[in-house]
């Protein structure tokens, strides 16, 4: 299988104190790790691509560790997560789907026993394309206060033969969450949903 060729890594950390309402006692933090890699399948249709998922595992772990470090080093403060990919224009959407397994595996591995499916999105785009990475609670997808997203992207990626891979972690609910629904304190934690 092709080796992972990394061109660039980016870490983005947002710290939100308020959004017009009361200043949060503990600010919400969102962090994104982006990796820009060469797309080994760009330029032609390749039938068998699934093996590359395993090759991406070490990069996923490195990105998940970098995210926890960017949030202060303690995985216990992570409450929400998401992932995504932008495939450069010489590739296909299916190449972005290669990130589902390694991206999810990496965050579960680093966060311990996270039960919820990792929300995700993907697209094909040129350099500078932005991606709204969806975010949900790590243990129960229906926790309404933690439905969130983080816009990511960088000016010079992905080039045509590249894939931009993204992982996102957050430390809490939206800063002024107040639309009801399942609360984090009500999680049963059995099925990853509630």
């Amino acid at each position: 299988m092709p080796e992972v060729q990394l061109r660039k890594r980016v870490i983005i950390v947002e710290e939100v104190f308020h959004e017009g309402g009361p200043i949060a006692a503990v600010p919400l933090r969102r962090a994104a790790a982006l990796a820009i890699i060469h797309n080994p399948y760009s330029g032609k249709y390749v039938p068998e691509i699934a093996g590359f998922m395993e090759d991406l595992n070490p990069l996923g772990l490195e990105m998940a560790k970098a995210l926890v470090a960017a949030l202060g080093g303690d995985p216990k403060i992570v409450e929400g997560y998401g992932k995504g990919a932008i495939v450069g224009q010489a590739g296909e959407l299916e190449h972005g789907a290669l990130w589902h397994v390694p991206g999810g595996y990496a965050m579960r591995e680093i966060l311990g026993n996270a039960k919820a499916i990792v929300a995700s999105t993907k697209k094909v785009g040129g350099p500078g394309t932005r991606l709204d990475v969806p975010i949900t609670h790590i243990n129960a997808s229906y926790v309404r206060s933690h439905f969130d997203s983080m816009e990511v992207g960088i000016a010079d990626a992905p080039k045509a033969n590249e894939i931009l891979l993204a992982l996102v972690m957050t430390t809490g609910p939206r800063v002024h969450a107040r639309v009801g629904g399942l609360k984090a304190s009500e999680i049963k934690g059995q099925d990853g949903l509630r």
Binding site: K8, I12, E14, F17
Partner: protein
Amino acid sequence: MRAKIRKIVTFVEETRNEMGKPVNPPTRRAAAAAVVENPFAGNYVEDLTELMEIGEELGAMLIERAVTALGIPGASAESYGKAAAVGENGELEHAAAILHPKLGTPVRKALGKGAALIPSSKKRCGPGVPLDIPLGHKDAAFVRSHFDGMEIRVNDAPRANEILVAIAVTDSGRPLPRVGGLTKDQIKGEDGLR
């Protein structure tokens, strides 16, 4: 603190490869940005002292965040730059008041030196506009390998009554510089230019 901060965002970029050629050591740059309330939004105000003082506070805070994000001592930083984006109810002069009179002093204090002008840019715009922060060597503005720029963007800022203020700092110049000119080992460092 005089500045009413809604949000702080940090960005770290690490370039490891260009056109298949390794960048060793990788070039790294970081930016820290704060989204603050514009106390003068919607009015023409003659005396902009309050914004100058906010600039001083933000200079100290943002350079500390950016250097910490790079994980280097301040004295090891090589280039720097600053920029501000004013929301639609403010004036370009508000960005000037934050950036130019007082922001630079705490930045230079944190970096140990900084004989060169801190290159800057500013604009008035809506939320999500990219900000291109110019970069130049901190001790000698003519060092050609360090002429650069870093694009950042915060999707929800600046709102109409806000100002987005950013400082960028690097531990290196461009990846693979090869267009000649003054090099960093030729710096005299007396006049801030050469």
